[in-house]
């Protein structure tokens, strides 16, 4: 194993900012949704904080997109179609069976390919469907609060709220899954260390001493 600089500074900053903001959004969102059950900031402060956090999330998402675009890292999220299903099945089998047998990860992580196919498809859905849904419904709800005519003209206010809430629940489920699957690195904490330091000891396959790195 050798330490490879796999996550650049901007990636890590974007990731941890996103994580912190999303956790805060979930907390304040729960307080808005269930004010009688959860009262940390108070409903009014939680609502204001939620709005500002939403602005930060949107800003961070845009900056993250621009970074990935100009650094050509967007392709990390695009699965190779020809081999996708095969590798995805292998990865799924690994999570369900192989990991308990101590098998190696079926898809080697490299600088050029930091995510396995299941991760790729998941992040594609999260970043292209769920996140935009939350941003859009959030902006519409913000607009209806500050510009009452928006609430009247949109005609979708009774649907925006529940849609936003559904997205929130899905994000919560994703967050739990994401944190847990981050423990499936070559050690329990290796992925966390990599996302903090940027360096990760990548597995080198013995029969192929020459690695493909970028």
């Amino acid at each position: 194993m050798k330490g490879e600089y796999i996550y650049h500074f901007h990636e890590r900053m974007w990731h941890w900012a996103q994580a912190t903001i999303m956790l805060a959004l979930m907390g304040t969102g729960l307080e808005i949704h269930w004010p009688e059950k959860l009262s940390l900031l108070g409903f009014s402060r939680a609502a204001r904080a939620h709005e500002w956090l939403g602005v930060l999330l949107a800003t961070n998402a845009v900056l993250g997109f621009l970074y990935h675009l100009f650094s050509r890292q967007l392709r990390q999220y695009v699965p190779e179609l020809r081999s996708f299903f095969g590798l995805a099945l292998l990865q799924a089998r690994y999570y369900l069976v192989g990991i308990f047998r101590g098998e190696a990860h079926p898809v080697q992580k490299t600088v050029a390919r930091k995510m396995n196919p299941l991760q790729q498809i998941t992040y594609l859905a999260i970043l292209n469907l769920l996140l935009p849904l939350q941003l859009f419904t959030g902006v519409a709800l913000w607009g209806s609060r500050h510009f009452p005519w928006v609430a009247e003209s949109l005609r979708t206010l009774p649907y925006l709220g529940p849609a936003h809430m559904m997205g929130a629940w899905l994000f919560m489920a994703f967050t739990i899954l994401h944190i847990y699957l981050a423990t499936t690195g070559h050690t329990v904490v290796s992925n966390f260390q990599a996302m903090i330091t940027g360096y990760e000891d990548l597995e080198v396959v013995a029969s192929h001493p020459k690695e493909t790195t970028r």
Partner: protein, 638 residues
Amino acid sequence: MITNARGFWKVAALLLCFAVLTVSDFGVTAEPIHPSFVLLDAAGTDVLTSGAPLSQSKTCGGCHDTDFIARHSAHARADGDSAPPPLRTWENASAWFGGWDPLVYELAPGTDLKAWLTSYGQRHVGGGPARGAGVELDCMLCHLSEASLSARQEALRDAAFEWASTATLSDTGLVEVTEDAFAWNATAFSQGRFPVERLRLSRPTSERCGQCHQHVHRDSSPLDTWNAESARSGAIFSSQPVRDSAFNLANKERLSRAFDVHAERLLECADCHHSRTRAGSVSDVALRHLRFDPRRPALHEVLRRPSHELASSGNGQEAGLRRCTNCHDPSEGHEELPSPSRHFSALACESCHIPEAVIGALSHIDWTALDADGEPLRSYRGSSSNPIDAMVLARGTEPTLLLRRMSDGQRRYAPHNLLTTSYWVTASPLRPVSREALMRVFQSETLQHALDADADGRLSSEERRLTNPQRARLVAELLEAEGVEKPTIVSEVEAVEMHHGVTEGAFVVSDCTECHSSKSRLRRPTLLTTQLPGGVAPHFVDDAALELQGSIEIEGGVARFVPAPDAQSMRHSYVWGADRISWIDWLGISAVTLVLLLAVTHGLGRFLSRRKHAVEGITPHADKSITDEETGKEGSPR
């Protein structure tokens, strides 16, 4: 400088004279503004000469255009010109003239003016439709502090219509009232003229308005009563701190607020509900090309022809009503309120500034059963009985927030008291059963015997109630025997608007969770009645401005209004923290729980398998990964 006793006494005498002159003015206020005048009869003759009834149109008409005033008075017109369509099939109109009021019950007798005057007309100021019976607009009823409404009402009840205006002066000493006659008392006049130095004519004080409208209390004596209109809406117009009143209220010591903050701030009813053309007032007719209308009526014009149309909220609708925003700027003083524009567009000011009716309000008037005095059975919200009874502990009540279309066209939540009325109707013609018929039935021995459950020889309120279907059937049979055709019970709910009893500061609704929580005021069920006569489900009176979202539910004889906003209304007012779709929450919680369980299970499995491998000395396989070279292209197996 006083140097000797003589000088001292001179100064003392001067001071004493000054004091006497000053003291002599005590009890005599400033020179009256209104000139003295002679009271005239309809022929224009001095009433002291003719002994005839007073004609206020002739008397006041000497200086004021009483004909103009009578034609420009919503009170005189009884709202006839601008009233919406009648709410019930037996009503001629929804206005006073022809409308039906559950507090009064007496049926407005069609076009029989004289019959109307003896009932509903008792709260009418005269003029308008009452002119046909010789009842003029009674100026002094509102403009004279010593006017007697009760005497006037008695005259109307006795059909002494031409003497109604005279009866108004019963408490002034100017006229003596005996059982069947009115006699002018010349000695009470000031050289044959109206004694303006003793009897003050002025713009209407709030107490005058309180004769017919909500109870007004302006002196320092502990407030201990209310009137029917206050009971209907739960509002009393008084500057007195609630805790200084004589009511028996729960947690009274914390109620340091005034009954109404506008009364506390020394506003009179006429300050907000003023004439459109009062001297110095800005016209409330909006002219698009003008930012400010500098035209003012001259004082003599106002005095000669004072319009008695009351100022509206500015857009021509609901004449006589003023909105809070006519005087207040909501953008000032709400710094702590998040999203103020959203709140102001969804809520009427009263929603937060009338958080409760401090002594409660009427909840149910049951005319299906009369007590020994022929009165209906009344139930109150916030107390077991009438809260003016000192033996009754009153807790106050929260208003019901309902969506109503306001004068500016916007729909907003506003506070209401839901008043349920139950009564018998006869089928042909469809109308309430007369009170006389009901009295005969409830005084009959048959009914007394049948309802007297404890056989004590008298009927208690509970025994009279027709919550038992058998009792209701018995009363129906007895009514039929009285000639009432197909008597049936009707129960209706009226949403009474609440605009007074305003508070400010710490007593205003300021906790967000009052609305933004599962126990939201906007979604809280309201108890209508626990004594539903005949088990008949009540229905809401058709109110065009009210947008009801919810239904009346009945369980075990208890009726409740349960708000249930639909998608149409939630388009206007989706309330965070209060409105949610349960299945989305359940689905979401299930998804999160499932993922958590999977993670814990999977993690446990990994932990156990690692331990097992460690014990067995098995190392993980490290050579099974698919690399980029194996795939050729990134991620593609060969």
